[in-house]
């Protein structure tokens, strides 16, 4: 397990993520992942429901444990590490915040899990809240925030945690189009600033184009195609992916 210092400069370098022949059984479905994600990149994971998108993120974050194979982040084998020991922050679609704690406390938990914050922690928390545009709402409870604002708090917490990998599990799926684009732009800006590696699961292939990211297409628990989003989403796309995109278009 690599030692990570919590007092390092706010700019972290991204970490590479490698899944070596990772096997995982989801109910009756056998999943198999072989994947390399380069450091400081943005990768969008798309695919039909039940393809294993969230499972892939859960394996990287440590909420699921691989049956066999290795997961390597920043050169360290984390296959069996606990979620809090991995250099990873994850933002879920909802339930990112503790409903009875205010914005500052929710972000502060990213610094100290017992909430005993010192002065540097407080400064870092205030800075992160300002960065996601929530200054002035420090003492609101989650119920007094909009859906977008709640996700901003979760991102602020990821910032103060200062981990080189940020995972977004359909984090913006419940937001309207304009708000979703604003959040994507925020993630893009923060990624540029910190250089962290971002992996996001999305239902909107357009998200990948907006952030000029890499694209990984999953189907039936396997990586079917991967490459720059601009290439994969063009007419050169493989058949399965075209079918998925076509089905998506006709559903719109």
């Amino acid at each position: 397990m690599a030692e990570r210092s919590r007092t390092e400069a706010p700019t972290t370098d991204g970490a590479a993520i490698r899944l070596d022949a990772v096997d995982f059984d989801y109910d009756d479905m056998a999943m198999h992942f072989d994947l390399i994600i380069e450091p400081s990149t943005i990768t969008a994971i798309i695919g039909p429901s039940g393809a294993g998108k969230s499972t892939l993120l859960n394996l990287i974050a440590g909420f699921e444990t691989a049956k066999s194979g290795r997961i390597v982040i920043a050169g360290a084998d984390v296959t069996h590490a606990a979620p809090s020991e991995r250099p990873v922050s994850m933002v879920f679609q909802d339930n990112n915040l503790f409903a009875h704690l205010d914005v500052t406390a929710n972000v502060g938990l990213g610094r100290k899990p017992n909430l005993r914050l010192d002065e540097t922690d407080r400064v870092a928390v205030a800075e992160a809240i300002a960065k996601v545009g929530l200054s002035g709402k420090e003492h609101r409870k989650p119920e007094a925030l909009s859906g977008g604002e709640r996700q901003r708090v979760a991102i602020a917490r990821a910032l103060v945690r200062n981990r080189p990998v940020l995972l977004l599990d359909e984090a913006f799926a419940s937001l309207g189009p304009a708000l979703r684009h604003a959040m994507l732009d925020l993630v893009g800006d923060l990624q540029e600033e910190t250089g962290m590696t971002v992996v996001m699961v999305t239902h909107h292939p357009g998200d990948a184009l907006r952030l000029q990211s890499l694209l990984v297409f999953l189907d039936n628990g396997k990586v079917v195609a991967s490459g720059p989003a601009a290439d994969l989403l063009s007419t050169k796309a493989p058949t399965l992916l075209r079918k998925y995109l076509g089905a998506e278009d006709s559903a719109l």
Partner: protein, 541 residues
Amino acid sequence: MISLKPLAGALALAFLAVLAGGACISLAVEALRGSAEGFAAFDSYLWRIARFTLLQALLSMLLSVGLAIPLARALHAHPDFPGRTLILRLFALPLALPALVAVLGITSIYGRNGLLAALFSWLGLDVIPNIYGLTGILLAHVFFNLPLATRLLLSNMDSIPEDYWKLSSQLGMGKWARFRLIEWPVILRNISGIAGLIFMLCITSFTIVLTLGGGPRATTLEVAIYQSLHFDFDIARAVSLTLLQLCLTIAVLSVLSLSGRPTEEGFSLRTTTRRFDQTTLGTRLLDGATIIVGLLFVALPIAGTVVSGLAADLLRLLGESLVWRAILTSIVLGASAAALSLIISLALVVAREYLASRRGYASPKLFERSLDRGASLIMVIPPIVIGSGWFILSRHFVDPFSLAPFMVVSVNGAMAIPFAFRILRPTWDTAASRHNRLCAQLGITGWSRLRLIDWPVLKRPSSVAFAFAMALSLGDLGTIALFGNNSTQTLPYLLLQRMGSYRTQDAAGLALILGVLCLLLMIAADRGAGTLAKREVANIG
């Protein structure tokens, strides 16, 4: 990392197993030892009691449900009936009242010197009502269960989609067609569960039968167990009665498990559905009369309790040290029972969730299922069975009466566990499913997690469960009737004694005090539960 959660769950289960198992083993040993004598006790007297137990439960159930249907329909058809919300609140009251208090209220209306008797004599009729026997038992059971059934049915009818009512008025359905096509299917789906619940409550009814039964003609198994232990000290008979009661409960429960439980979605005070049908004047009058009769039936005994309680010499009562000691004993034992039931339920809930989230997609193992089942153990083995089992067992070692405080706390605590478990579990499970991944990622564990994450969530449901359990224990007569004595007297026990010695005024005053105590706790629990439900809706954070 080793968690203490499964250990806590195992300890809670062990407590319940000892409490129930000890009683059952004691009964079994006693039955085998004096087998000839024991089985001789299965005579015609016993069967007559068993028959009466079933008969009164069946009649109470039929009356309650049969009357609840028109009442619920009338209440549903008139969402803007004046004071409807108040009426529904009032209908929640009987469940919060200790049975003994309700019994006094009912006698103040239908008894020899009650309101009805006064009305008859004013009209010049030479009729003196006598409610002791089956009549009184049925009156009291309907008083408790009619409002319950009405509320349950009403909440079922509220779940009928609004579109159905729109459609029925568009299609011009008549009253009968509306009943047959829209209301009846919903009622039918839920009626077996509601009827089963009421049947079960009436089969294990103790206080009402003890006080209103009036003699060996109208006695149920529970009361016969109490009499054989408390007055006759006929152990063989008590054992056979208890075993019969146990078999009966298990038989009824297994039939009930086929029909499913009634569901009440939250507190249905709000008027969810709008009705679009035009009602005729005749229907409106009939429905209005139905509601008013139902209202009077529930409200009069409650008013009677208050009026005769206030007529009692409350100041003198509160000057008696015996009364104060009973109040204090009740509060101390009630609070201990509530604390016990809260601790046991929490241990069961937390351990169950821990195992469930650990196993992931696998099917639950025996231990996890036992944690779930353990919570409702007391439903299968009635408190009186546990009480008499331990009474019979302990007499070999100590004076059973000296165990009064322990038995009241343990049995009353166990009685509240099914409810406390149901109050705590949804909140805990939802919170855990929201928080487990977050806490795992942020490394929030141990004391920090309890202090920052879990306790804030548990605080309110815990106090709701505590208040509810304490009210339940305060009003309970079953266990204290068995074990009570001059050194340990609770408020219901003292009340029963005063009733027995025909000090009616005192009894009415004590009933008022007891009723107010229980009501305050129940109101606190209800308020808490209300905000709990609202918070669940608000927190999608």
